[in-house]
């Protein structure tokens, strides 16, 4: 029987999703369900003096007003955002200061809208700048990487370089905005807590709730069968889960808390704005002698999140002198967190733009420049790569995109009102695996059930895991049921860091192989079935110390209206080397989805800080623009066959994030090629095109 891994299989739950049968966190009907609505602070810094719940409690259907004075006490955890309503301090505008609970959502919301909250306001500080007096070096950057690195002597390298590029690039705050807002439905059965929660990994939410409420592992169950996207903002527990569980405990009723679109702009994380200085030094042929990448970014005063923006430079190009650094300032702003390719997405914009500037300065083709700087081993640290096919991606893309026919001169191609240009950028993303557990049971009827706490946030993970299990068990896919999103299945990696398949696929393969061995040993499936369990912790700990990364090449064609500065992107092409592709259909969706988000990052997405009020002012879809269908024209993603036996038994590298890495730089480089004007600040708005 031929395998299904690699085939373009449609997602298994597609029908149940489009018919509305699939249940998301806020869809579960429960008897006696009440609704919580979050009240947010209207100051950016200070204290809540008082909340007058009197009138609200008189309103129809209002059950409770939970504030710092009457909230249930939580156990300490290391994430201040989860310690909700535990004190009167206000750390940012939009922070939760109360939860109003009502019989209906409308009743809760009506009472929340008029709730009188008195504050003692203090002056706030919400603007990031590269010269901020309180910049500091964090202990490490996300997830646990060195803040600064230095190889060789960068200043000497730059001083001796024949050609140098030294520019500052910036990216704005961007908000994840998954389609489904964060939502939790919580209820208690005695001392046992169950939550239906929208997240990227039930294990992490389970751990957080266990700690916050001081419970046994077995007393908490987190169910997250279907999730409508996250882009990093659901990577861990968010406060709505804590509030729902707390209110359910306090009121003895099931409680649902769903965030509004506007609330997502302050309560669940976003991509930090970045200010990045990149200095490149090379010989006349463009061979780097020095690379320096310095990043300034923000965090909140509640939780320190330090994005790893400069890590892109640690793996990309060969140079004897290489330094990277991150400086952070804790502002009175909501906490930034993961957003699709944290680090690599903004970092690649700066470095891949600078590489284009270097290519121009040296008169070397941008693809050739990257080939000349291809390293043999990791530029920072010198470890070998498990596989590295950047050049293959660049060459394959160049041939598909007809790069050889390109006239390198900027600002020379005109079609009526349009200036036309093309650009290229490289991309990369780490390919890691994390320990996970799974079980597979053989049923009497010849079918199998796989259970693991994986998450399908719209990626197709459930389908891909079914393919993996079916191939391992050597049965058709319809003989395998993969059940996911339930913390009762045991700990597993989240859908994050592009590590989902590499972690879950591994443990599913291991469990299936174990089961087959057990069946052989028993001489068949016994009457009461057979279950095999697996845990990959030891396998992962035993991995060789290699640099494992996926790579890619992004190509963009743009048209720029010469008079209005409007930009259109008629063509995007991404070529990736991401190990084995398990499902050609859902993988392509992930990759073009990432590229579309990169286009959106290049041209549209920008959360604007209102300095006076200390809030992101364009906190809805009328003001925060994401690419619409009409903005995406010809878009294609493809991959090269890559075999890498140093990854995991499936040989997968992960595809969730690499699609967004480099896209914005490819577009910015194409805009330069079209207009002759360099765009160093995102998004590339029409007014910036006319006066950069």
């Amino acid at each position: 029987m031929s395998g299904t891994v690699g085939a373009p299989v449609s997602r298994i739950e597609g029908l149940s999703k489009v018919t509305g049968e699939a249940r998301y966190a806020a869809d579960f009907p429960l008897a006696g369900l009440a609704h919580g609505w979050i009240v947010q602070s209207t100051i950016a810094r200070g204290r809540v003096e008082s909340v007058d719940a009197g009138a609200a409690l008189q309103m129809p259907g209002v059950l409770a007003v939970v504030t710092a004075t009457n909230a249930m006490r939580l156990q300490d955890v290391d994430d201040g955002e989860l310690l909700v309503l535990q004190d009167q301090q206000v750390h940012y505008r939009g922070q939760t200061v109360a939860l109003v609970v009502g019989d209906t959502l409308e009743q809760a919301r009506a009472a929340a809208d008029g709730l009188p909250v008195e504050y003692q306001a203090e002056p706030h500080d919400v603007l990031l700048s590269a010269s901020h007096p309180r910049l500091f070096a964090p202990d490490h950057v996300n997830p646990n990487l060195p803040t600064d690195t230095l190889t060789g002597d960068v200043e000497a390298g730059l001083a001796g370089a024949a050609v140098t590029v030294d520019h500052t690039y910036s990216t704005p705050a961007e908000h994840n905005n998954p389609m489904e807002p964060h939502a939790t439905t919580a209820f208690w059965d005695g001392d046992r807590l169950t939550v239906y929660d929208s997240n990227q990994g039930a294990t992490r939410v389970h751990q957080a709730l266990v700690r916050l409420f001081g419970l046994e592992d077995s007393a908490v169950r987190v169910v997250s069968e279907h999730v409508g996207g996250g882009f990093g903002s659901k990577g861990g527990a968010r406060s709505q889960a804590v509030l729902a569980a707390m209110a359910a405990r306090m009121l003895g009723r099931p409680i649902r808390v769903v965030l509004s679109r506007k609330q997502l702009f302050s309560l669940v994380g976003y991509r930090t704005p970045t200010i990045q200085r990149v200095r490149l030094g090379s010989d006349r042929g463009g061979r780097l002698v020095a690379l320096d990448h310095q990043v300034v970014e923000q965090t909140s005063t509640v939780y320190e999140f330090a994005e790893q923006t400069a890590v892109f430079s640690r793996v990309m190009y060969a140079t004897p002198n290489l330094s990277t650094s991150h400086r952070l300032v804790a502002l009175d702003v909501p906490t930034p967190r993961w957003m699709r390719a944290p680090g690599e997405a903004p970092g690649s914009f700066a470095v891949e733009s600078a590489m284009d500037e270097l290519a121009e300065a040296c008169g070397v083709d941008p693809i050739e420049l990257r080939i000349r700087n291809e390293p043999v081993t990791e530029p920072e640290g010198g470890r070998p790569f498990s596989s590295r096919n950047l050049i293959a991606c660049l060459r394959e893309g160049a041939s598909r995109f007809r790069w050889a026919e390109r006239d390198p001169r900027p600002g020379t191609r005109r079609d009526g009102q349009w200036l036309m240009g093309t650009g290229v950028a490289a991309s990369t993303y780490p390919a890691r695996s994390a320990p996970s557990t799974a079980s597979v049971s053989a049923q009497e009827d010849g079918s199998f059930i796989v259970r693991l706490t994986a998450a399908d946030i719209g990626t197709g993970a459930r389908t891909a895991l079914t393919q993996v299990a079916a191939d391992e068990l050597q049965v058709p896919m319809d003989k395998v049921e993969v059940r996911i999103g339930d913390s009762d299945f045991g700990p597993a990696m989240i859908a994050g860091g592009s590590m989902g398949m590499a972690s879950w696929g591994w443990v599913v393969v291991k469990a299936c192989r174990q089961l087959i061995a057990d069946i052989d040993r028993c001489g068949g499936v016994p009457d009461d079935g057979l279950v095999a369990r697996a845990d990959t912790a030891d396998d992962i700990a035993a991995q060789a110390d290699l640099v494992r990364h996926s790579f890619g090449a992004q190509f963009a064609e743009v048209r720029v209206d010469v008079d209005t500065g409007e930009i259109r992107v008629p063509r995007l092409l991404g070529v990736f080397a991401a190990g084995r592709i398990v499902n050609a259909k859902t993988a392509r969706s992930q990759l073009i989805g990432g590229m579309t988000m990169g286009l959106s990052m290049a041209l549209f997405e920008e959360s604007l800080m209102d300095a006076e009020f200390g809030d992101y002012l364009n906190h809805d879809f009328a003001g925060y623009h994401i690419a619409a269908n009409a903005d995406v024209q010809r878009i294609d993603a493809t991959w090269i066959d890559e075999e890498d036996d140093q990854l995991n038994p499936l040989g997968v590298k992960g595809i969730g994030e690499i699609g967004i890495v480099g896209t914005a730089a490819a577009i910015a480089n194409a805009v330069y090629h079209a207009t002759g004007q360099r765009q160093r600040h995102l998004p590339i708005r029409p007014d910036r095109v006319l006066s950069p």
């Binding site: 809208d113 409007e566 364009n618 623009h625 690419a627 903005d631 029409p686």
Partner: protein, 290 residues
């Protein structure tokens, strides 16, 4: 919350005697305000079940020129239907740029007028065509020219208890168009917009600007200059092209833009000039329609 759903204009007007009642047409502005907490209606008057408001007719040329009368709840999708689009091409251009299919199916011309957003896409067209708004109240019906109907950003001459029942637009002979700049290709609020209408019978040009002032702005100096420059007796394509860049500068001079998060004032002024020049080129430049 009470919802009234009358089936005739008379019933609706009678209901409006209650000062607490709020009119709901397609809801595409109304519901956004409710969701944002800016509007808390206790009583709602829905126009959905009043068929008379959803119709349009071509009025016989008893007036000079002939008119089209659009009921207040005519939607953007209606404006895009071929028969209506042919009579009012600039309005159809504007309708095509509004929102998404869902918004175009629900949103109405009356709602666009009553909202009176500086970025309302039909407003420059209505201003250029010198449309007249028909308003009804228990006291009777009155006509308000669009130029005086819009009194400021999100402000109109509508008195409490008044209902927009129709908009009358003249049928002109000559080129018409609408242009809009936004940051993306669809679902976008205008950063600058412009309507141009040529009336070959009266030999006038009408040009109105959107999103560059508190309400739609007529660029009268630019209109007069252009009308005076054109050789109306000879097809434009064969005459020496007028200095359309100068027209663009005059239009830009009429704009009163502000800085906001969608664009700078300087960009808006520049962009409106570009739109004007391009619209005029379409109308009067070499190979043009006029």
């Amino acid at each position: 919350m009470t919802i009234l759903s009358p089936t005739s204009i008379d019933e609706a007007v009678a209901a409006l005697a209650d000062p607490a009642i709020q009119v709901l047409a397609g809801g595409t502005d109304f519901m956004v305000e409710v969701n944002a907490g800016h509007r808390r209606p206790d009583k709602v008057l829905s126009l959905r079940h009043i068929p008379e408001l959803r119709t349009w007719e071509q009025l016989p040329a008893r007036d000079d020129p002939a008119h089209v009368r659009l009921g207040a709840t005519v939607t953007y999708t209606d404006m895009l239907q071929p028969d209506l689009a042919q009579l009012l091409p600039a309005l159809a251009h504007a309708a095509r740029t509004v929102g998404s299919p869902q918004i175009r199916n629900a949103g109405t011309i009356g709602g666009n007028l009553a909202t009176a957003s500086p970025a309302g896409d039909t407003l420059p067209v209505l201003a250029a065509l010198e449309a007249v708004v028909e308003v009804a109240s228990p006291l009777g019906v009155r006509d308000i020219p669009v130029a005086t109907f819009i009194t400021g950003p999100k402000r109109t001459a509508l008195s409490p208890g008044e209902l927009i029942v129709a908009v009358r637009l003249p049928l002109l002979d000559g080129h018409q168009e609408f242009r809009k700049i936004g940051v993306r290709n669809a679902m976008v609020i205008a950063v600058a917009s412009l309507a141009l209408a040529v009336d070959t019978r009266t030999r006038t040009v009408r040009c109105a600007l959107g999103s560059v002032g508190p309400g739609p702005i007529r660029a009268t100096e630019a209109e007069e200059w252009l009308a005076g420059t054109i050789d109306w007796d000879r097809p434009a394509a064969t005459t020496e092209a007028p200095d359309l860049a100068y027209f663009g500068r005059l239009v830009a001079g009429a704009a009163q833009p502000i800085d906001d998060h969608r664009g700078t004032a300087a960009y808006r002024r520049h962009a409106i000039g570009v739109l004007a020049e391009r619209a005029a080129a379409q109308a009067f430049g070499a190979g043009s329609a006029a």
